[in-house]
């Protein structure tokens, strides 16, 4: 099956600076992805060896394909670095299973860097 899902990604709190200064991105992701979140375009997922694209895969995908520089400002150990909050359709991702949340067509995922200025 070669189907893809379309999602919307937003960056806020300065994270957009890492992504070409664009806050809003529309992405098409493969519906089924490797268990190890390998994001190479030509990777083949063997029958029964994949999982639905989830937020953990999205984080890897953003790091590998959209990030312009300094990956450590966004990703750390397979998840977002400390100080970044993730929203799944305007809900704190902790309520949705964090990285294991399986993306659905039309979902909106927001990455917010917490601010400290006053």
């Amino acid at each position: 099956m070669e189907s893809t899902i379309s999602i919307k990604v937003e960056f806020s709190g300065g994270l957009e600076l890492l992504f070409d200064n664009k806050r809003s991105h529309e992405l098409a992701l493969p519906a089924v992805v490797p268990l190890n979140n390998d994001t190479k375009k030509d990777v083949v997922v063997a029958e029964g060896q994949g999982k639905p694209a989830d937020v953990a895969y999205l984080i890897a995908y953003l790091r590998d394909h959209l990030l312009q520089e300094r990956a450590e400002l966004f990703e750390e150990g397979g998840t977002v670095r400390p100080g970044i909050l993730v929203l799944v359709n305007d809900t704190d991702w902790e309520l949705e299973g964090e990285g294991e949340y399986a993306l659905r067509d039309g979902d909106e995922i927001v990455f917010i860097s917490t601010l400290h200025g006053g």
Partner: protein, 293 residues
């Protein structure tokens, strides 16, 4: 004798009438405000509008905590300070400006920096803490203080064209409180990932928006209006410019507000000991000394 008959001085009915007639506010709301004591930590971009609106609304006691002095680069947004108060401690400059608005205010202006050793004693007298600071270690410290003292924390932040507002440690009903700052951000960011207002800049109006929202949240809490643990984020160039998020519940494993920490504090209280903050070196925990803001 008046004070026996009326819960407020008579002139206050005129002065605060525009808010006292609001649904859910009323005379009781004004009485609550007049008895409230609020600590505003940071008299900068956020603290100025916060202080201004709380002073105008008739809050009984305001604590202003800031160890900085007024610099010319502050005046683009810190609207309680002025060319005349350049070089003066911000806490004193702010106090002077607030007394012009409301001469009856009871203001404690503190020019000492809030640190782990002095935080509990400096803030113990306040029923609500507003975080208007500009650095990571103090944000964690204030959250821990709020949890330890059992008061809500109205937290604001602003940088560039972005702002964030969140109420932590909020009463949710019978013994239930919302998450603390550490529940949401258990690990502090690496200092190299954190910019300062000096490096990144900030638009004055953005601090005005967030500071005013903090003042509204403080009034809602003190008057008992509806409150849920949400976070609001703002960007002046996005559409929509605002987003609000429902937050997770508190984390059982949180080192500040979780089960173990709550039991430790209960034990300390039972034994008549002084209640203590989590054993954290805030500056080291946050990866080194505060950057230059």
């Amino acid at each position: 004798k008046d004070s026996e008959t009326y819960p407020l001085p008579l002139e206050d009915y005129k002065r605060y009438g525009r808010q006292m007639i609001l649904d859910g506010f009323g005379l009781q709301g004004q009485v609550n405000l007049s008895h409230a004591s609020i600590a505003v930590v940071g008299a900068g971009g956020l603290g100025c509008p916060v202080l201004q609106y709380l002073a105008a609304a008739g809050v009984g006691k305001l604590g202003i905590f800031d160890a900085d002095t007024v610099d010319i680069s502050n005046l683009q947004r810190q609207i309680l300070h002025s060319e005349v108060t350049l070089g003066m401690p911000k806490a004193l400059s702010a106090k002077e400006a607030l007394l012009r608005i409301n001469s009856r205010l009871n203001i404690e202006a503190v020019t000492e920096a809030i640190t782990a050793p002095n935080a509990l004693s400096l803030l113990r007298a306040y029923s609500l803490i507003l975080d208007c600071t500009d650095n990571v270690p103090t944000r964690y410290l204030l959250s821990d203080v709020a949890v330890t003292l059992g008061v809500p924390l109205v937290s604001g932040a602003a940088q560039r064209l972005d702002g964030q507002l969140c109420v932590y440690n909020m009463v949710q009903g019978e013994g239930v409180r919302g998450p603390c700052y550490r529940c949401i951000f258990p690990t502090p960011p690496n200092p190299t990932t954190v910019g300062s207002c000096e490096e990144l800049g900030v638009l004055g109006g953005v601090t005005g928006v967030i500071g005013s929202l903090q003042a509204v949240e403080a009034v809602k809490i003190l008057t008992g209006m509806d409150q849920r643990p949400t976070m609001t984020i703002y960007n002046a160039l996005s559409f929509p410019p605002f987003r609000s998020i429902r937050l997770r519940p508190r984390r059982e494993a949180c080192i500040a507000c979780g089960k173990d920490a709550t039991e430790r504090r209960a034990r300390e209280r039972a034994e008549g000991l002084e209640v203590t903050l989590p054993a954290v070196d805030y500056v080291q925990f946050c990866g080194g000394p505060t950057p230059d803001w």
